[in-house]
Each structure stands twice: as C-alpha cells, then as structure tokens.
C-alpha cells in the first residue's frame, strides 16, 4: 500500500524585490524558497497512517519543479518519506496548476497509490486547484480542505471531515483510491532530527521528464495550461495611515483611538 504526497517548493518575496524584465514574474534573485506549509501537514498525515499501520505502507513524495525543488523533497525524506520523485525539464516552464496536475497524475498512474495527498493550497499563489485537478485527470474520488481523516490501509474507503466556512465541518465517507487536499491544523507536523536530515541528504531523488511519463510537450508548459500570465505588477500601497513616534507615543495614540472608538468606556 502506498501514499503519494504531492508537494510544492513555494516562493516568498524579499522585502525589496523587482519584477522580471518581461513583466511576467518576480526576478528569481528576490525569491526565498521553502516547502509549502500545507504540505508539511500532508506529509505528516501520510506518516501517521504509515506508523499506525499493521501492514507496510510506502510514502512517496512527488514535486514538479527545477533542481532547487530537491530541497523540498529532502525535507520530506528527512521527515520519513520512503522515496522522492521530481518531475522536470525545460518544457515544464510556464505551467499553471492544471499542467502541473497533469504531470502529478501521470506519476500517480505509474505509482498506483491508494491515497494521494496535496496541500489545500500553496502559500505563494494560493490557487487551491492542483489537487482536485489531479483527481480529474485520474477520475478518482476527491475532496478538498480536509481537517480530519480516518483510514486503515487495506480498507476500500476513508472517513474524512471537510472544514467549511465559519468552522462548520462536513463529514463523509469516500471510496479509495482518492485524492484529498489537506488543510492546516489536521495534525502537528514533526520536526526532522539532525540525524535524519543528514541521512536524507544522501538519499537519491528520482528525476523524471514529462516525456518519460508519457506526457507530450503540447500538454505541459503554457500550451498545457488553463491560464497564462500576461503581466505581474506591484499594486498601489494600501491605505494604512502609519502611527509614528516612540513606543510610548505610538501606544498613547493607540489608546486614544481605543477610547474614541469605544465611547471612552474602557
């Protein structure tokens, strides 16, 4: 039995950053990369199932991205993933969530997992689309924004709870194999030990090209995407009026605001 965990190496912006010359993305020199926060929870959920199982469970992490995405996969290996797969070649550049999902689905066809986890969204672009798109390519049952999961390897279904607006939960049973997107807070992700981080550095990461997965060039990159970036720009700054001065002065102004807005009752 196998669980495939799709992860993303996300990018955050430096305090000062510049838009690339073609105006379609941020200059990569100003990007700080890390494993997507949601994916930490997905991997942990897979590890919990693996560790509670009476029968062997293999956890495989998969990422679509260039070589620096190995860092995200090594993090997964350090936390206990058995194997890691990275999908990439130059034709993948320009892929949106849908084209990425097509590649992850191709890996799933090869690996045949019982469960496929993805983050409910990514911290950088927050499309909240990849997981459900993977499910559509596979025609597997799917559910998004899961905050509770009960699954015993060998069974043909799982019980889950979706987290809705306002904190209402929606419980249901789902047939497996299934694609589930995992929400923050479903568990408490572990930290990797120094020893396991060292060990992970020596583990191999299998690198596959779209072609090796049987995905033609016309189905990846901009050609295989459902959208294309026309322009990226920095929006006009918001309206916050900054309260300046010493800490005491700032606090005094804040206190004044509180008294005004609460009718001086406080």
């Amino acid at each position: 039995m196998k669980i495939l965990v799709a992860v993303k190496q996300v990018a955050a912006l430096d305090e000062d950053f510049e838009i690339r010359a073609d105006g379609k993305d941020v200059d990569p020199d100003f990007l700080v990369r890390d494993l997507n926060e949601w994916d930490d929870f997905s991997l942990e959920e897979a590890m919990k199932i693996k560790e509670a199982s009476a029968t062997p469970v293999e956890v495989v992490a998969v990422c679509v991205g260039p070589e620096d995405a190995d860092e995200a996969l090594r993090k997964c290996l350090a936390k206990g993933a058995d194997r890691a797969i990275r999908v990439w070649d130059e034709t993948v550049v320009g892929s949106d969530a849908i084209a990425i999902a097509r590649l992850i689905a191709a890996v799933a066809r090869r690996e045949q997992p019982q469960l496929l986890f993805a983050g409910a969204q990514s911290a950088d672009h927050a499309f909240a689309a990849t997981g459900m798109a993977v499910a559509a390519f596979l025609d597997w049952p799917h559910a998004a924004v899961i905050t509770q999961l009960t699954y015993t390897p060998g069974e043909e279904g799982a019980t889950l709870r979706r987290e809705l607006e306002g904190g209402v939960l929606h419980e249901m049973q789902i047939e497996t194999p299934a694609v589930l997107t995992i929400q923050l807070g479903i568990n408490t992700p572990r930290y990797a030990s120094l020893r396991s981080i060292k060990q992970a550095a020596a583990k191999p990461i299998e690198v596959l090209t779209p072609q090796e997965l049987g995905v033609p060039e016309s189905a990846v990159g901009e050609a295989g995407s459902a959208s294309r970036v026309r322009r990226m720009y920095v929006p006009e700054k918001g309206r916050a009026q900054m309260i300046e001065g010493s800490i005491e002065e700032q606090a005094a102004r804040l206190a004044q605001l509180i008294r005004e807005r609460t009718g001086g009752a406080a």
Binding site: A12, A136, R161, G167, M172, A240
Partner: protein
C-alpha cells in the same frame, strides 16, 4: 461563445450570499447590453431558490436537479459539464469558496476550460478576457489570460462585488443532467463546538486579535490581560487556534468566525493571510501592529504601527491603569 453563466452555491437549503455577488460581476462583464446572464441552480430541489436569485441583471434562471442533497463533487462536475457543453457560455462564474475548492478545478480539467481562482477583477481588454488575482502572498497582482480557451471558469473572491439592488423577472428553464454515481456517502454536517469557551466573536464590537507574532504560548496570557484592560474580546488567527493556544471559537477568518459586529479591530503580530482578512477586512477601524513593514495586513488596515508587539503591548497596558 457568448453569455455568462453563474453557478449558484447553496448549502443546507440556503443560498450562499456570494451567489448574488457573482451576478453583479457577470452584469459588469457583459460585452454588449444583450449578452445574457444566466444563473444555474444545481441542487436536489433547485426550484426553491428561484425567487432568491431573481435579482436585477439576471436574464435566465436554469434549474438543474442533481441527486445529491448536499455538496457532491461528482454530481456537480457532471451536471455543470453537461450544462456548459449545452449552453456554451464564454465565462462560467463560481465563488472561490470551500465547496468550489472541491470541484471547480476538476470541472475545468474535464471540459478543458480556461481556469483561474481567487479572482478579484475580471474584464475584457481588446476582446480578451483578463482575470486579476494576487500572487506571492498578495504582494503582487497577476493578470491572467486564457489563449485558446473558448470557455473560461473563474472562481471569484467573495466580498469584492456588491450584490445587485432590485429584482428581475428572469425566464426560468430546466436542464436535466444525466445522473452521476456518487463516490462520497454518509454526509453529515457537524457544528463547531465552542467547548468550555462561550465567547461569541460575531457579536464582539472591539476585538484585540493575536497571531503568530506572539511567538509562544506563554505569551497568550499577557495579551489576554491586555484585552481585558482595554475592554476588548481576545481573538486570534488560525495558527494560534491550531496550536491549541486559544480555542477554535476565538479564530477569526474564512474557516473561523467573521467579526460581524466589530467596529474596532486591533491585530497584533498578524501578518494578514487572505483567509484571516476574509473574517475582518470589512471592519471600519483596523489597527495593525507588526514589526514587519511588509506584512500584508498593513494594506487593509486603517492605522498601522510598525513596532515590536510586546513593547507596544506593555506601553498600551500602562495607558489603561485599573
């Protein structure tokens, strides 16, 4: 391809208010005054929602009976796909909601449609559909285009478009999709329990909310005491509730509570993830205290204080001696 199709969202027999916001967006998007706006209701008893969606700007209401009583992605995708193939609209609008997270991307894949989510601006420019959304934690805006996609599914952010005022008398038609099997069963809604904590964040007029910036659990008490001293109800962002430092009932945001009655919101050490902003950005006076000048929360706050939250907390506490 012509016309705009709005897919209504309902839950537990109630229309989700965001549906009417989508109608406004559809109305503004029409390329010619006679381009039609249709609202499709995909539900087990769709007819009951007809009066509620008959608002200004709606030309047609399409009732689409689906077998599933509540949210079922298989049924929704199959019904929406059949309807879109029959009607060939240029644009399909859905809300960027938790339910849509569960099926809209799959619909786009199955129909090979253009697709974008969390869109807050949509317009035609030189005949091309352009959708604008945020990127890199809302620090940039991204304009998306959809080359070679005659049908585009767009998930719109809530609370951006104002619901239309006034009623209409739209034509009503019925579309019967073929019944899809379901692979999700035994559905049941579970209300979030407040547990020991009986606070009602939705009725609080003054909220002091804390986020990741407080660093560790031991610091919660300091801010609880401050909230008491200034007369505020203590709230929090998601990471604080997930860590169990405060009960879930205190969480403000998309999956937490909405600060509905709040008039003054002081956010301390909250960077301003879009999910948090969804629960409080409507508040008339928002004060953000954060050491990071790049924090997203400053872009929606009325007042900003760039400072160490602990120093501000201590100094503010001194302003309210008991």
């Amino acid at each position: 391809m012509s016309g705009i199709l709005v897919i209504a969202e309902q839950r537990r027999g109630e229309l989700r208010p965001v549906t009417l916001e989508l109608v406004s967006a559809a109305q503004q998007l029409r390329r010619t005054p006679d381009e039609r706006v249709a609202v499709a209701i995909l539900a087990d008893e769709p007819d009951r929602f007809i009066p509620e969606v008959s608002v200004a700007g709606v030309d047609e209401v399409i009732t689409v009976p689906v077998a599933a009583k509540d949210f079922d992605p298989d049924a929704l995708e199959a019904a929406a796909l059949a309807l879109i193939e029959a009607r060939k609209p240029a644009v399909v609008l859905v809300p960027h909601s938790i339910d849509a997270f569960g099926w809209a991307a799959a619909l786009a894949v199955k129909g090979d449609y253009g697709f974008a989510t969390d869109v807050f601006r949509i317009a035609y420019e030189d005949g091309k559909l352009i959708a604008t959304r945020g990127g890199y934690g809302q620090k940039v805006n991204v304009e998306l285009e959809f080359p070679g996609k005659p049908v585009v599914v767009v998930a719109l952010r809530a609370s951006v478009f104002k619901p239309p005022e006034g009623r209409s008398r739209p034509a009503v038609s019925r579309f019967e999709p073929s019944r899809a099997g379901t692979r999700l069963t035994g559905k049941e809604f579970i209300e979030a329990s407040a547990g020991e904590d009986d606070v009602d964040m939705t009725s609080a007029e003054f909220i002091l909310a804390i986020g990741r910036g407080i660093g560790e659990q031991a610091n919660v008490e300091r801010f609880r005491e401050l909230a008491d001293a200034v007369g505020a109800v203590l709230g929090c962002s998601r990471p604080i509730a997930d860590a169990g430092w405060l009960p879930k009932s205190r969480q403000i945001g998309q999956s937490g509570k909405t600060a509905s009655a709040c008039k003054l919101y002081v956010a301390m050490g909250i960077s301003g993830a879009i999910q948090h902003l969804a629960g409080m950005k409507h508040v008339s006076t928002i004060v953000a205290v954060n050491a990071d000048p790049g924090a997203s929360i400053f872009s929606i706050a009325t007042y900003g204080v760039k400072a160490d939250i602990f120093e501000i907390a201590d100094a503010l506490r001194r302003q309210f001696p008991n």
